[in-house]
Each structure stands twice: as structure tokens, then as C-alpha cells.
């Protein structure tokens, strides 16, 4: 049984009655309409929906990147207390993201000048003031687990699309976050590489205990996830997984 399936496990992140609109007048669009969602440790959640349905807005609001018009984003602090991310100061929110969140995007966004190892080291050195040797050790550990041992010293131009996305996942995981947000992480990849990526995200949830929220259009990811939500016109609906 997955840890989140136990009844006494608390969510690490709760979105409560989130509202967000764009534009005004006739161009007004409801991106989020009273959306509530809980993310549990060890759980891979898939969020699907048509283009413009508000998926990215929800991910941004939950991850502390975009302030909702109303509602709360309650995140578990180090001592287990829930705090509203959007009641924090900008600096506190930045520190919260630094301690707890990892991001994977469709574009790999890797620094062209840096090797795979350096991409990860940078996050540790700049984010946690880790020493050179500690950053290297932790970066190597993550890259080894992601099957990138042979590619540590390669720069993005020398890596395939799948390898680049694995490095980007490594960058998201290297600081051991409690929350991982992935926005269309497989859409630029063929299915073989896409499958590897979703397996790695599942491992991040199941083996590392992170709460992983993955936004995607790709229905082929469904067999890999624990929970499946559908968002349409700003309304969130939990759906039953096929075969469940």
C-alpha cells in the first residue's frame, strides 16, 4: 500500500477554493473556479484537460508562482503546520520554494554552457550554499539513479531530448523536494523517452516520497499515475483511473 493510501497521512499541499480569472468584460475567462485539491506525499497525480482549461494556472497557483484571486494554498511547513503560501512574504515564499519544490517543464531549459552535473550542482550551490564537494556528490548520486552516469560531463548539445529531460528531472530532484511540479514533461519526447520520464516521476513519488503533480495532455500516462484529475473550464473533477 502506498503511504498516501493510509488514512492517517496528511496532505503536504492543499489548494482550497482557488479562484482565478483572466481579462475583463466580455474577454473575462475563469481559469480556476472554486478549485480544491490535496496532494499527498508519495503520490503521483496527473492533471489533464483541454488547452486553456486552467491546468497551468492551477500548477502555478499551487507552486507559489501565480497568486490566485481568492482561496488558499496551504503547505506543510518543516514542523508539519499548514501555512498559506500566499500569505507569506515574497521572500518567505521564495525560501519555501527553495526548500520544498522542484519543477520540470516541457522545455528542458538547461544552461548550454554547463555539463549535466553542473546543472544540478548549480541548484545546490546557489540554493543551499552547498560546498563544491557536497554538491558534486549529491549531483552524481541523482544522475546515477537517473541512468545518466555516462553523461555527467556532457553539455546539453551532446545529449538527446530524452537525456536532457532526465537531466532536468535530476535538477528538480537533487535538492530532495517534497513537491515536484511537472508541466507537460513528456510532450516534446517520443513515447519511449516519455515513458522513461513518467517512470522517473513515479519513482520520485513512490521511492522518494515526494508529492508529484504532473500536467499533461498525454492519456498514455494514465497507467503510471496514482490519482487522475480532469480540469475543464476552470472546474476540477477527480476521475477514476482506468482499471481501478
Amino acid at each position: 500500500m502506498m503511504p498516501w493510501a493510509a488514512s492517517n497521512v496528511s496532505p503536504v499541499l492543499q489548494g482550497v477554493s482557488l479562484m482565478r480569472t483572466y481579462g475583463d468584460g466580455t474577454a473575462r475567462r475563469n481559469a480556476l473556479q472554486n478549485v480544491s485539491v490535496d496532494l499527498f506525499p508519495g503520490q503521483l497525480v496527473l492533471l489533464m484537460g483541454p488547452s486553456g482549461s486552467g491546468k497551468s494556472t492551477l500548477l502555478a497557483a499551487l507552486s507559489g508562482l501565480l497568486e490566485p484571486d481568492s482561496g488558499q494554498v496551504l503547505a506543510a511547513d518543516d514542523d508539519g503546520r499548514m501555512r498559506d503560501v500566499w500569505q507569506m512574504t515574497a521572500r518567505e515564499r521564495e525560501a519555501y520554494r527553495r526548500r520544498h519544490t522542484g519543477f520540470v517543464f516541457q522545455g528542458y531549459n538547461l544552461f548550454p554552457a554547463l555539463t549535466a552535473r553542473q546543472q544540478l550542482e548549480l541548484v545546490l550551490k546557489w540554493g543551499e550554499n552547498a560546498s563544491g564537494s557536497e554538491a558534486r556528490r549529491r549531483a552524481d548520486e541523482v544522475l546515477d539513479k537517473l541512468g545518466l552516469s555516462a553523461n555527467k560531463n556532457k553539455k546539453p548539445a551532446q545529449l538527446s531530448g530524452g537525456e536532457k529531460q532526465r537531466v532536468a528531472i535530476g535538477r528538480a530532484l537533487v535538492k530532495n523536494p517534497t513537491l515536484v511540479f511537472a508541466d507537460e514533461p513528456t510532450s516534446a519526447l517520443d513515447w519511449e523517452n516519455g515513458q522513461k520520464v513518467i517512470e522517473l516521476l513515479r519513482d520520485a513519488a513512490h521511492q522518494r516520497g515526494a508529492a508529484v503533480l504532473c500536467v499533461s495532455h498525454d492519456a498514455r500516462l494514465l497507467p503510471f499515475v496514482d490519482v487522475f484529475y480532469h480540469l475543464d473550464d476552470g472546474r476540477l473533477e477527480r476521475r477514476t483511473l482506468p482499471g481501478a
Binding site: 497551468s56 500548477l59 502555478a60 507552486s63 508562482l65 501565480l66 521564495e94 525560501a95 519555501y96 520554494r97 527553495r98 526548500r99 519544490t101 522542484g102 519543477f103 517543464f105 516541457q106 522545455g107 531549459n109 538547461l110 544552461f111 548550454p112 554552457a113 554547463l114 553542473q118 548549480l122 541548484v123 546557489w126 540554493g127 553539455k155 535538477r171 528538480a172 535538492k175 508541466d183 507537460e184
Partner: protein, 374 residues
């Protein structure tokens, strides 16, 4: 290698224009200053080519060519002090040089003691020339001025209406406004006539046991006689003469404008290069911001890059400056690239690159992690 430097090297073609802009600014500044310093070295030739430690002249004299007659009695203020090995009279004054074929030129008379080891005798004068100059009304000029002064094979001319004989020429003592004319104190006094009153002299030159004693002596005399005479070490007087003419001719302002223009062009190009290079990596920086990396880390990296752009630009500028200095020497121009000029140029241009970096920081402020989400 730092991340800033690694990125700089990886994207060297992108950063090349910024580096070259710094190089351009640095070469422009160093060369302008060097050329002017080289040019104004001419104004201190009488000091730089003699071996006195201390120069004593009329009150508040700012440049060697502006000395007014001082009473010969001032000698008693100097002679007899400990650590002084000799004190000599020195005459320096403008005079009118009548060309044999007609026409006149201003010249500058330098009358000194002519002993072989005299403090005031120009170092380039040969033993033979020193002997010849002991003849009444004998003079020596620089070979570059022979044509200007219209000296013919007869070697005769007139200064202040009195006939003189050119007994030789020297090399490398070019003049700016008035050709230098080397002679004995006696000849100078004769040629100047009433312009140098009896019992007066233009300078006293003191030579000391050590240069340190020279500095002490200058300080002592300055403190004791602040009102009616000026005392300098040779180094101070040389620099003072150059600086005086640099500012008197407004050449300093010319340097300032040229340097400012060079800096402005360099700063704009460097800022634009850094701005676009940072904007090109905006997505990579945005993900760092999303991960909670503080924005100042990215700003620090951009500033670090601007610092390295400055350093590399300077490193390229120095050999170019030395090459141009060599080229200028071939056509007879002296570019004085002393360490102060090179260091000052480095400080100014690296400072400029850093300022450009600060301007480029607006691209960092525009980075938003939200833009990564479609």
C-alpha cells in the same frame, strides 16, 4: 572555472562585441594619455636630462620654462647644509634666435656648468661638446631643430642680437614651442644681457649624497622659505612641468572628452551585449527562480560576467597598445605607457564594464518563472 566564465567562453561569439568594445575603449584611453604624456615629456627635458636632485627657483614657479631670476644670494640658504655634494647655477630663459638667412625664432637658452660631472650639463652632451661650449658664445642645438633655426654650414647665427657659433648638435631632445639651446652659464648670461640682472640666476641645482637626502632637503627648504622661492625634487619638478602644460594647453580636457567618448561607446555596446546574452538565457534563469534561487544570485553572475568581459578586454588591449606604441615610435612619436597609465586604463575600463553590467541587470529583473508555463 566559475559559471560566469564558463558561460562567457561557451558563448564567446555572443560576448565578443562587448569584449571588443572594452578593448576599443581601453586602447583609446591608454593611447590618448600615453601620446599626451609623451608629447609633454618635451616640456621637462631640461630636468630629465640633468642629474640634479633638487631644483630651487623663483616663488611658485610651475614649469621649468617659467622660472624668473632669483637673487644669487639665495645660494647661502642652500650651501653648507649636510648631505649636499654640490650646488650649481643654472640659467633658463627664452631668447630670440635670428636665422642667418633672415627671420627669427624663439629659442630657450639652457646655460649650465660644463664640468664633465656637472649636475646641470645635459647628459647627451659629449665631453668634446662640453669643452667646446666653454668658448664664449658657443651653443649646441638638437639636430631636429637645425633646419628650423636655419643653421647653415657656417654655423653662425645671432641670439638676442649677439653672434653665436653652433659648435655641435645632439639627438633626441626635441622641442615643442622653442628649440632648446645648450650653452655655458657665462654665455647664457651674456646673451640674455639685461634680461638676467646682475647677481641673479634662474635656478640653483643641488646634488645630494642620496636621493632620499634630496627629498629631505627639498622638504626642509620648502618649510624654511615658503614665501620667496620654490623648491622641488627633480621628479616633482618634471611632473609639475608636464602637468602644467597639459592643463595650460587644455590638452587635459581634450583627453577627458576623447576618453569619455570612448567609454560611452564601450559602455553602451558592453551593456547591450550583456543584456542580450542574459535575455538569451532568460528561461534557464527563470527555472532557477522557480526553484527558489534568489534573484541576486543571477544578478551577481551577470556582474561577474561584466567583470570578466572587462578583464579580457583589457588583456587584449595591452598588446594592441604596445604594438601601437612601437608603430608610433617608428614615425617619431613617443607614447608614454607608464604603469600609471596602464593601471588607470584598466581600472576605468573594468569599472565601465561593471557599470554596463548594472545596466544589463534590467534583463534579470524582467525574468519571470511564470513565463515558463504556457
Amino acid at each position: 572555472m566559475s559559471i560566469a566564465l564558463q558561460t562567457l567562453w561557451h558563448e564567446r561569439t555572443r560576448y565578443a562585441s562587448g569584449v571588443l568594445a572594452v578593448t576599443f575603449s581601453a586602447v583609446l584611453i591608454a593611447l590618448q594619455c600615453g601620446l599626451l604624456l609623451g608629447l609633454f615629456k618635451i616640456t621637462s627635458i631640461p630636468i630629465d636630462n640633468t642629474s640634479a636632485d633638487v631644483w630651487i627657483g623663483s616663488n611658485k614657479v610651475e614649469s621649468v620654462d617659467l622660472g624668473r631670476p632669483i637673487p644669487a644670494s639665495y645660494l647661502s640658504r642652500i650651501a653648507g647644509r649636510p648631505g649636499i655634494t654640490s650646488v650649481e647655477s643654472y640659467v633658463a630663459a627664452f631668447a630670440s634666435f635670428a636665422k642667418p638667412a633672415g627671420g627669427t625664432e624663439m629659442c630657450f637658452l639652457l646655460g649650465s656648468n660644463l664640468d664633465a660631472d656637472a649636475a646641470g650639463a645635459a647628459k647627451v652632451l659629449s665631453k668634446e661638446q662640453l669643452d667646446l661650449l666653454t668658448m664664449p658664445d658657443a651653443i649646441v642645438v638638437d639636430e631636429s631643430d637645425v633646419k628650423r633655426l636655419g643653421v647653415t654650414d657656417e654655423k653662425k647665427a645671432k641670439i638676442n642680437g649677439k653672434e653665436v657659433l653652433v659648435v655641435g648638435t645632439v639627438k633626441g631632445l626635441k622641442s615643442l614651442a622653442a628649440p632648446w639651446v645648450f650653452c655655458s652659464v657665462h654665455t647664457a648670461r651674456h646673451l640674455l644681457g639685461f634680461m638676467l640682472p646682475p647677481d641673479h640666476i634662474t635656478y640653483y641645482l643641488a646634488r645630494c649624497e642620496t636621493p632620499a637626502r634630496g627629498r629631505e632637503l627639498a622638504a626642509e627648504l620648502k618649510a624654511e622659505y615658503p614665501e620667496d622661492m620654490a623648491v622641488y625634487t627633480a621628479e616633482q619638478f618634471s611632473t609639475g612641468s608636464r602637468v602644467y602644460w597639459l592643463f595650460r594647453t587644455k590638452a587635459g580636457i581634450a583627453i577627458g572628452y576623447a576618453a569619455l567618448l570612448g567609454l560611452l561607446v564601450g559602455a553602451v555596446i558592453t551593456a547591450q551585449t550583456l543584456y542580450s546574452a542574459t535575455a538569451a538565457n532568460a528561461k534557464e534563469f527563470a527555472i532557477l527562480l522557480a526553484l527558489g534561487i534568489p534573484r541576486w544570485r543571477i544578478s551577481a553572475m551577470v556582474l561577474s560576467q561584466s567583470f570578466w568581459v572587462g578583464i579580457i578586454g583589457i588583456a587584449l588591449a595591452y598588446p594592441v597598445c604596445l604594438g601601437l606604441k612601437y608603430g608610433a615610435r617608428q614615425v617619431g612619436a613617443d607614447v608614454d605607457l607608464r604603469w600609471e597609465v596602464l593601471t588607470g586604463t584598466a581600472v576605468i575600463t573594468v569599472g565601465m564594464a561593471l557599470v554596463a553590467g548594472f545596466f544589463a541587470l534590467r534583463s534579470v529583473r524582467q525574468i519571470e518563472p511564470m513565463n515558463l508555463l504556457r
